[in-house]
């Protein structure tokens, strides 16, 4: 059973629009949620992260919204740019986790 689920699998937006990526998780002990950005042929790169004590984290055009009660979070990419076209992974861990548990990713395409 997938511990971290992402939707949609793929998403297409026009330049300047807001892309919304969704993530949900099963394990209530998870308390750290990083989002990784991956371009083809490269390794995942940490984009932004949030801890469960917060309900929002913002970094430039990227914002995480977190709902602990519903075990859901979302990544909003405002003013999307063609350079944002990549696969985005939601991940989770707890204080004692052995590594991160990753979702299957959302592939985002931004057209000019």
């Amino acid at each position: 059973q997938q511990q971290v689920r992402q939707s949609p699998q793929s998403l297409t937006v026009w330049e300047g629009e807001t892309a919304i990526l969704n993530c949900s998780y099963e394990d209530s002990t998870f308390n750290y949620f990083p989002w990784y950005q991956q371009f083809p042929g490269e390794g995942p790169a940490l984009l932004i992260s949030i801890r469960s004590v917060s309900d929002k984290k913002e970094d430039g055009r990227f914002t995480i919204f977190f709902n602990k009660r519903e075990k859901k979070l979302s990544l909003h990419i405002t003013d999307s740019q063609p350079g944002d076209s990549a696969t985005y992974f939601c991940a989770a861990s707890d204080n004692y986790a052995q590594g991160l548990t990753f979702g299957l990713g959302t592939r985002v395409s931004v057209f000019p």
């Binding site: 750290y32 990784y36 390794g43 995942p44 707890d94 052995q98 991160l100 299957l104 990713g105």
Partner: protein
């Protein structure tokens, strides 16, 4: 500049051959990881190393072993490679193994093909 390096970047082996994948980091991170990434399965944790000679199995350790003799180097070994081990392998490192210090930095990956 913080960096995780992986060698080789591409590798083709025949079934039954031994495979050695190397990973290095220059951040003095305690914890290092090996993942594999397959279409439809995402990133799966193979092994985690908390420090020199302190290794722990991840979610899919079968068919793999690891070696960490120096803090900055972590090797993944496939003894007698199998075709289902064809994948992209990522190494990562973090300051510590658990939150709140578990920001992981990934290498560029090794694309392994086993024929």
């Amino acid at each position: 500049d913080m960096k995780v390096t992986q060698m080789p970047r591409y590798l083709i082996k025949r079934m039954g051959e031994n495979v050695l994948l190397e990973c290095g980091q220059d951040m003095s991170h305690e914890t290092m990881y090996w993942y594999r990434q397959d279409p439809g399965l995402g990133l799966q944790l193979i092994y985690i190393s908390y420090d020199v000679d302190s290794n722990s199995e991840g979610d899919i350790p079968k068919g793999y072993r690891v070696s960490r003799k120096k803090r900055e180097h972590f090797s993944l070994i496939l003894d007698s490679a199998k075709t289902n081990q064809t994948s992209v392998y990522f190494c990562a490192s973090s300051l510590s193994g658990g939150a709140p210090l578990s920001e992981q930095y990934f290498g560029p990956g090794t694309r392994l093909t086993v024929l």
